[in-house]
Every structure is written in structure tokens, then in C-alpha cells.
Point group: C2
Amino acid sequence: MTGRPRTFDKDAVLRAAMRAFWERGYEGVSVAQVCEEAGIAAPSLYAAFGDKKALFEKACALYTEHLDDDLERDLSAPTAREAIERLLRSSAEHFSAPGQPPGCLVMGEPRLAERRAKTRDTIRARLHRAAAEGELASTAEADGVAAFVDTVLAGMAALARDGADRARLLDAARHAARAWPAQRSSQVATEGLWVE
Amino acid sequence: MTGRPRTFDKDAVLRAAMRAFWERGYEGVSVAQVCEEAGIAAPSLYAAFGDKKALFEKACALYTEHLDDDLERDLSAPTAREAIERLLRSSAEHFSAPGQPPGCLVMGEPRLAERRAKTRDTIRARLHRAAAEGELASTAEADGVAAFVDTVLAGMAALARDGADRARLLDAARHAARAWPAQRSSQVATEGLWVE
DNA sequence: CTCTTTCTGTAACGCCCACTAAAAAACGTC
DNA sequence: GACGTTTTTTAGTGGGCGTTACAGAAAGAG
């Protein structure tokens, strides 16, 4: 009992939905719009993916499919400094990938704060390891660097969505990498800056 | 012929609307919600402010009322480096001001890209001045620093909305300030980093 | 062919949206 | 008190939203 076969490509529809959510956010996308862009009727979409929230989750799963692997790959560099440099550069490139919407689905979507927190935890863990290995002065400094890296990643995604091209994003990433703490003492680098 | 006096505080209603847009964005706020939070009926709100778009624009005008002045004040520091440090710190504090929604209405709202561009132009102009005065090596470097500063500002706003406290934002701002180009040659600071 | 199963297409459902027509109420003025 | 003006109140308007009931169409199984 196989029943009538579906006439559309389920993966293609999911990719269209992902792109729509990526470009305009969860609230900015209506089910009717996805249906039109995918070329199918609403009941077909509901039968294949469930309601709008389930469709969004499946689209997010598709988006983040290779993202965690990429993160681990970047962070696996021998030194934390190199790991962060890799992460900054590959993120800048991802946020400005040709043929894809600018920015980041996860960064741009308010309701994905939990997933952002997960990524931040991963970055912080890598920097804590660097503190334990002596590459950073302390876990407090690791937390500070982590907050800074999180900030730059989120900011690059925002700039990308505002139309910044890849060169601008890579400029920002390079300048960010330049903020790495000086090797002998972090006080040297912060000389002249305010202190809490 | 004075007519019946209005029974609500127009400024208080506008402040409530500003807070709502600040917290949840233009699309996340319904007119009915503003009415309930302000304690007035819809026709009163429409008579006082016009339609939703006009209300949003007035709320934005209220939000940005003192913002440009603050920006000019920060950027008026004698050196660009100090100007950017002031801007980073005051922005971190603004994004985490107690009693106000976290983050930034302008940074968080997709449809305010033009205003963000205006702020970025102002920052870039200050850094170009620094290049002309010899504080930065070139206008190209000024553009790079500008892209970096824009990124950090947008990122801090995003982190604040994700729940980061003031200390985390100030950590990020301090680390960002540390990325200022070395005085003698910017190549010294980028030593060991990738180049395009 | 008939039955069962699964998908497609049409046509709605109720809900909330931004927005407003109309009548009643509260003022200053005559 | 009657009038003109402005606000409040009530009760809607049409439209888009997410979602679905239902009938017909396309497949394999008997």
C-alpha cells in the first residue's frame, strides 16, 4: 500500500523554507509565502513537515547541519589564537557566501538564543582550555576574550545583513584577531585604557 | 473652542510604545498591545499619533533624541583612539542600562538600516580625520577600523539582547579597544595573521 | 475492476491584524 | 441652556494569518 506518490522534492522545499527564514526571519515568513516560493499548496506542506514551528525547526536543523562540524574544525587548531582566527575568518566568509542570504539564520533569529548560547559555550570551553594550558593568563581573561569573540561574530552577522561585503567583514575579523592578548602580560596591551 | 481634553499623557504613551518596539521590534508589537500597555483605546492612539508606522517613527525619534549628541560627544575626543574607546564604553553601558530594555532599538530593527548607516558614516568620518591627521596610517586602515568598530557595536547590542550583563559587554569593549593599530606600523600588530 | 492508501487541489475555518465609522461625553463660548 | 469642537467609547470593517475538512486523483494489492 504505497499510495499516491508526492509530486514535489521534499528537500528542495525545505531548502526554500530555510532560505526564506534566513532572509526574513520566522515572523517575516508566512506559510503562504513558503508555499508560493516552493510551488506547492499548503496541505502538501503541512502533510510533509507539520505546522510552521516544526517546519522552522527542520529548516534550522538543515542550516546547522554542518555548522557544528565547521566550528569544531576551526577550534581544533593547536593554539587558541589560531583557532579563533580561523573561526573569525570562516564566519566572515560564511556570512557573505555568494548565492546565499547574507548574515546568519541563527544570529538573526531572536527565538534561537539557546542555540547561540550553545555555540558560545563551545567557544568559551576552547578558551578555558587555553587558560589551563597557559596560553591565556586566567579563566577570567578567557571569559573576556570569549565575550569579545561572541560580540564580533554577532556583529559580523549583523553587518552582513546590512549589506556589508566580504572584504568589510574580513577587515573586521582581521582587526578583531589583532586584539589577542599580548603574550607576556595582558596589562601591556591594555595600557592607557580604562579599568573597571 | 477647546474641545474635550484628552485623559492620557501623550508622552507616557509614546514612551510605552518606544519600550515595546525596543523590546520586541516593529513586527513583534501589535497596536492592540500598545493600547493595552498604555491603557488607552485604539482610536485615541490613532488620533494622537497616526497609524502604526507613524507611531513607530515617533518612537524612534524619541529613542534617538539624545543619541546623536552622545555620539558627537564621544567622537569629539582629541584622539580617534580615545574617541572610539569612549564610544565603545558608552555604548556598552547604554545597551545594558538598568530600567531599560537590553540592547538597542536601532541595532535590533531590520527596517532601521538607514539610520545605522548614518551612524557608521559618522564613525568613518571621524576615523578618516584621524588618517588625515596622521593618527592612522591610511584611509584604507581607517575604513578597516571603522568596519571593526561597527561590528563590535552591533555585536554588543546583540549580546545584550541575548542576556549578557554589563560586565560582559564592557569586557568585549575593552578587548575591542585593544585592537587599535600599533603606532609605528600596523604590520607589527598583524604579524602572524593571515593576509588577503 | 475494486479496495486501500496516500497525496493533491479547492475551499474554507476561526483568529488576530491594522484601522475606522458613529455616537456619546466633556470641555470653552455665546 | 444651546452650540461648536475635540476626545472617548463601542462596535465594528476588510484582510491576512495559520491551519484544516473534504473531495478527487494516483499509486499498489487483491
